[in-house]
């Protein structure tokens, strides 16, 4: 089952195990420059608001109502990252999960069309708790291209570039818990080691957004260290996350959307930190060729002769905080900065 609590999607599998619960949050962040350089991980600027789509059924397209799930607001060219658990969350279960993430039903790890089941040969899923965050599309080994929202139908989204059609947009997520017996065996090993969510007259024509590829970032996508047979594929929970143009958020929900995030240049000039996460002992996945061939927003804008991004300015992250297993800050995770910036 999936519930929406404090702008987080909470996944629970009480029939598998009482501890089988995890959370997904979508974090506002800086859009890194799309200039060919590889950037470290940008900060979290607070969680995007999430709302049940069915609560606004009279103000969203019929297709959204059929998909159900939740929706969130993003401005054109705004970036985001996905947090699988994080600092300040009241629980941080170590129960392992296999999660498939797609944008416009294109798998963000493999670049292949969406299919719900896990397939070890495709290596198209991420594993919790090893993978704390996902910031973009996996285009090469240890390199991702940042998730950047663009209007569906404008030709920028990864979905449109790969399929040629602006059909789905949004994000698709499916979660599988580890088999109970495998988890309990894992816990016994750990313990030994430790011993040592108004009505308006007119429905809004909500503009759907899709995720496009932004600037390059260094981020490891870890391979499954448990093996395909560790996952209980007899149960799963899935969710469609519709992306709404933030300028239409108030018209649909009656609520103010978040403010626009600062530019990467302004953030860096203010001396604020960037991040790096590295787990030396885990195998990382190579990039997906289909995703590597996708044009970034800047490349597509240049090819189309359009101006869709503001000037990025010179960005030289000087302050980089290294996170990861064995690091001092591991228990607090990637810091999330709430409030206005």
């Amino acid at each position: 089952m999936i519930t929406l609590e404090a702008n987080s999607l909470i996944f629970r599998f009480p029939k598998v195990h009482d501890n089988a619960k995890s959370a997904i949050q979508f974090q506002r962040t800086l859009r890194i420059p799309d200039d060919g350089k590889h950037y470290p991980l940008p900060p979290g600027l607070g969680a995007f608001p999430l709302r049940h789509v069915e609560d606004f059924a009279d103000r969203v397209p019929e297709q959204w109502h059929e998909r159900a799930g939740v929706m969130m607001p993003l401005y054109q060219a705004e970036a985001m990252w996905i947090a699988f658990r994080g600092a300040g969350w009241w629980w941080s279960s170590r129960y392992p999960f296999a999660i498939k993430i797609a944008a416009g039903k294109i798998n963000a790890v493999s670049g292949k069309p969406w299919k719900p089941e896990l397939d070890g040969s495709e290596r198209d899923y991420i594993v919790l708790p090893e993978q704390p965050w996902l910031d973009g599309f996996c285009v090469a080994k240890d390199v991702i291209r940042q998730f950047v929202a663009m209007p569906l139908g404008s030709g920028y989204s990864v979905e449109e570039q790969i399929t040629g059609k602006p059909e789905h947009g949004g994000l698709q997520i499916i979660v599988y818990p580890m088999r109970r017996e495998r988890y309990e065996a894992l816990e016994r090993r750990r313990e030994r080691v430790l011993a040592k969510r108004q009505l308006f007259a007119a429905p809004a024509r909500a503009r759907a957004m899709g995720l496009a590829a932004g600037g390059r970032m260094t981020q490891q996508i870890y391979a499954d260290p448990h093996g395909l047979d560790a996952w209980d594929q007899s149960v799963s929970s899935r969710c469609f996350v519709s992306l709404v143009d933030a300028v239409q958020w108030r018209e649909i929900t009656g609520e103010a959307p978040p403010t626009r995030p600062p530019t990467a240049a302004d953030y860096t000039k203010a001396g604020l930190p960037w991040f790096d996460y590295y787990a030396a002992d885990l195998e990382t996945l190579g990039g997906a060729q289909a995703l590597a061939l996708v044009k970034s927003v800047a490349e597509m804008a240049e090819a189309k002769g359009e101006q869709v991004l503001g000037a990025d300015g010179e960005v030289n992250p000087d302050t980089i905080i290294h996170l990861g297993p064995g690091k001092l800050l591991r228990s607090k995770g990637r810091p999330v900065r709430e409030g206005k910036l």
């Binding site: 999936i2 519930t3 929406l4 009480p14 049940h52 799930g69 300040g88 009241w90 469609f240 228990s331």
Partner: protein, 123 residues
């Protein structure tokens, strides 16, 4: 899951949660946690030992956030109900009072059945 409600229970819970984290991360020393949640170390020490009543709701929430604990659990252990929950109950006191009484002995899995799920559709 149920929790015992008393002053020492709150202090014990906080001390255990903080000390466990302090074993692997020096930032969870009594002094550093106290500094981050804006109280005197001596006051936090007294709270942990059950020598003073639990702090204000705002301080409990800062403490829970810093320790990565559930604020509702810490508030309950302190014998308090969060102001957000109070506001919800006060809007429809009769209905919520009855709901809580009806559910008081229900097992956790039954409580989860009354929680609103995110609906999945066709896609």
């Amino acid at each position: 899951m149920s929790y015992t409600l008393n002053m020492t229970g709150f202090g014990d819970y906080v001390r255990t949660a903080r000390a466990t984290r302090a074993e692997t991360d020096v930032r969870f020393s009594l002094r550093q946690v106290a500094q981050r949640i804006a109280v005197e170390p001596a006051y936090l020490s007294k709270i942990e030992r059950g020598l003073v009543a639990p702090p204000s709701e705002a301080t409990i929430i800062r403490l829970a956030t810093d320790l990565g604990e559930d604020p509702d659990v810490l508030l309950a252990l302190a014998g308090k109900v969060g102001s957000d929950l109070q506001a919800i109950i006060l809007r429809r006191p009769k209905q919520f009072a009855e709901l809580i009484r009806q559910l008081k002995n229900a097992p956790d899995h039954a409580l989860l059945k009354v929680v609103r799920e995110v609906r999945d559709g066709k896609w």
